[in-house]
């Protein structure tokens, strides 16, 4: 898990999974990296194999944190399965999802 800071954006990368065994660590890690100037958190999911409901809970927690300051969470290039899961759970309404390039 790594973060890159680019102006008002915090980018999170190297996330092989986002599941019950690392969701808490992910949440703490991102919150720890957030600076006052950050208004967007981008989570790069291009190499993420699996996300479960605990991982979703962590993303929602980050979403609530950033919303307080008028920011947003953007999910980059999730796999079709993960994208389908967000759709099933209607979470595509609260996260901005950037699809994986064809």
């Amino acid at each position: 898990m790594r973060t890159e800071k680019n102006g008002a954006t915090l980018l999170v990368t190297d996330l092989p999974t986002l599941t019950s065994d690392n969701s808490r660590a992910f949440k703490d890690f991102v919150r720890g990296a957030l600076a006052p100037e950050h208004l967007t958190v981008e989570v790069d999911l291009r190499n993420t194999r699996s996300v479960d409901s605990n991982g979703l809970g962590a993303l929602i927690s980050i979403h609530k944190t950033i919303c307080v300051r008028g920011g947003r969470v953007r999910l980059l290039h999730p796999s079709p399965l993960i994208e389908e899961m967000f759709h099933i759970l209607q979470l595509d309404q609260i996260f901005e999802i950037i699809p994986r390039p064809l």
Partner: protein
């Protein structure tokens, strides 16, 4: 990965430690096994996600003392379905029909929604110490292979597949046959219930069968009785002295597992660790330190009973599937027994109605069609039947010497038997009275004649006999446990004339006594049964004697005829009751002297 024996093309199982960090690896391994079983990538994606959610839940909710036991995934795969069973050691939960999504910003509560969305069937079996989440998902239709002459390799593969399919079919047939056996047993017993006079016997046969299927050693079935207590219906163990459990008794609820199950409306488990209740609980004290559970049978939110089953050995707990079978069959049995009881009640109601009609017919036939005509007097009778026909009747007839014998009686009891005793009393009285006998002698004789029969059925008769001599105006009265006779004169005064004596049927050798009084000038004489004085108003207050006595004396003073006074007496009773149905028959016989002294003015009339 362990192979397990089930009737599917491919089946396998996987145990993993009850830790969150193991769930993902278990899901990955399961994915590989499912891939080997022929599942396509999209199917594998869904199953991996479902297994992650189910596995997480199994770990999260495991009870503290159970976390040393592994979580288990079992899989059954054929061409059309994939079934996954996930065993957990948690407290269990009720699987909802529909699962709603939580609020968008809620961080929890999406796992079960995902599971139900990504599978076609989901069930949850609760058991002792373990539960099973059973998930099934239909497999996508596979494309047919291209036509053309088969290659050798393809031919071999096809032959192998065919053999596997045949094997599966055979095993599925076996499974179906086994299920059919259970079902046919149910249907056979259900059909037998219609011919079975004793539902208890039906329940016993049924439960023996259920115990075989569920591998239980013993059973106890209690149903809620009319007093809202749990009453023993059938049992394979001896519960003598513990046939009824009072659900209202808080102390009992504290120690009785069956009552606890009934109160909580949920299964209550017991095993060898329940030392505290072992000595006092009806089940545990009889069955010993085994294991089992008490299952409340609830139909339409109404508790019908409690079925308890168990095993004598505590180290052989029930499996979730067995529990599910016992619960289902127990509920079905409860419905059957309940219906059988309703039918029985209906038949009983019909029989009672028929019984009452016969009794009412007898009762009517006992009342005299006409009453004796006495010069200078008027004699009238009244009989008002209560809803449940009792044994009241009156009679009056002429005896040798120009006298009139008046009789009134109340057989203690209802229905046909009471009416039959009234009929016997009446016929014996009429037969014996043909010879000149005194009222006391008649009662003594009647008591001797009826005692054995009355004593056998624990019934008795209160009666009063009055012999009236119109010439002498004398009244000879004898009574057997009956209310007093009332007399009133035209001077407005009244009196109660009581004569002691035991009711008929109490002592076989009772000897009755009599006394003689004179009818006051312009007098009224009233014989009655206690249904009259014990008429109740809406608050339950009795009428008592005074209003009747007053009415009688006012009638005598005003020179009213017997019919007029009869109507006044009836009006008093009706006014008191205010429309409340009478609880007992109301009967009286009224003699009134005609003021004019005219002779033969009252023709024979209907009583």
């Amino acid at each position: 990965m362990n192979e397990v024996t089930k009737h599917w093309v491919r089946k396998f199982a996987l145990d993993f430690p009850c830790e969150l960090t193991s769930v993902r690896e278990a899901g990955r391994q399961s994915r590989e096994e499912l891939r080997a079983a022929g599942l396509a990538e999209p199917e594998l994606d869904h199953w991996e996600l479902v297994l992650a959610e189910a596995g997480n839940n199994a770990v999260y909710y495991a009870l503290e003392g159970q976390k040393h036991k592994p979580v288990r995934f079992e899989f059954y795969v054929d061409d059309q379905w994939v079934e996954a069973r996930i065993r957990d050691q948690g407290p269990g939960f009720e699987m909802p029909e529909e699962v709603a999504l939580p609020e968008p910003d809620s961080e929890n509560g999406r796992g079960l929604f995902l599971i139900k969305t990504l599978t076609d069937e989901a069930a949850y079996w609760r058991g002792k110490g373990e539960n099973w989440l059973v998930l099934r998902k239909r497999r996508p239709a596979r494309e047919m292979p291209p036509s053309g002459p088969p290659a050798t390799v393809a031919d071999e593969a096809l032959t192998e597949q065919l053999a596997a399919s045949e094997s599966t079919l055979e095993l599925m047939t076996e499974e179906l046959a086994s299920a059919y056996e259970s079902l046919s047993t149910i249907f056979r017993y259900s059909a037998e219930l219609a011919d079975q006079p004793q539902p208890e016997e039906f329940a016993r046969k049924w439960l023996v069968e259920v115990c075989k299927i569920g591998a239980a050693d013993w059973f106890v079935l209690r149903l809620v009785d009319e007093n809202e207590a749990l009453k023993l219906v059938v049992s394979s163990v001896d519960l003598t002295g513990r046939e009824v459990l009072d659900m209202e008794n808080a102390g009992e609820a504290d120690v009785s597992l069956e009552i606890r199950a009934a109160s909580l409306r949920m299964d209550v488990w017991f095993d060898g660790t329940l030392q505290r209740v072992a000595a006092v609980d009806p089940l545990v004290s009889v069955t010993g330190q085994g294991t089992g559970f008490a299952h409340p049978i609830v139909i339409n939110d109404r508790l019908v009973g409690v079925l308890s089953v168990g095993r004598y050995l505590a180290d052989k707990p029930f499996q979730a599937g067995q529990v599910s079978i016992i619960q289902t069959f127990g509920d079905f049995l409860g419905i059957q027994i309940r219906n059988a009881h309703f039918q029985k009640q209906q038949v009983q109601t019909q029989l009672t109605a028929r019984d009452l009609k016969i009794a009412a017919d007898i009762q009517r036939s006992l009342l005299p069609k006409t009453l004796p005509v006495l010069p200078g007097y008027q004699l009238v009778g009244h009989y008002q039947s209560a809803r449940q026909v009792g044994g009241d009747f009156y009679d009056a007839f002429e005896t040798p010497g120009g006298k009139v014998l008046m009789a009134i009686a109340d057989v203690m009891g209802k229905g046909v038997s009471a009416a039959m005793f009234a009929a016997i009393f009446r016929s014996q009285l009429r037969a014996e009275a043909e010879r000149e006998r005194s009222p006391a002698a008649l009662l003594t004789m009647l008591n001797r004649a009826l005692f054995a029969d009355l004593d056998q059925v624990e019934m008795f008769i209160t009666a009063q006999l009055v012999l009236f001599n119109p010439q002498e105006r004398s009244i000879v009265i004898s009574a057997a446990g009956h209310p007093p006779m009332l007399l009133a004169g035209n001077d407005g005064r009244s009196q109660e004339v009581e004569q002691s004596g035991l009711p008929l049927g109490v002592l076989g050798d009772s000897v009755y006594t009599e006394r003689t009084v004179l009818l006051p000038a312009g007098g009224n004489l009233l014989l009655f049964t206690d249904g009259l004085t014990e008429a109740r108003d809406p608050e339950g207050q009795l009428l008592w004697l005074s209003p009747l006595e007053k009415c009688l004396s006012q009638g005598a003073k005003a020179g009213r005829g017997a019919e007029e006074t009869k109507a006044a007496l009836i009006a008093i009773v009706e006014a008191h009751e205010q429309g409340i149905p009478a609880g007992d028959d109301q009967t009286f016989l009224l003699l009134a002297e005609r003021r004019t002294g005219a002779k033969n003015l009252n023709p024979p009339k209907q009583a």
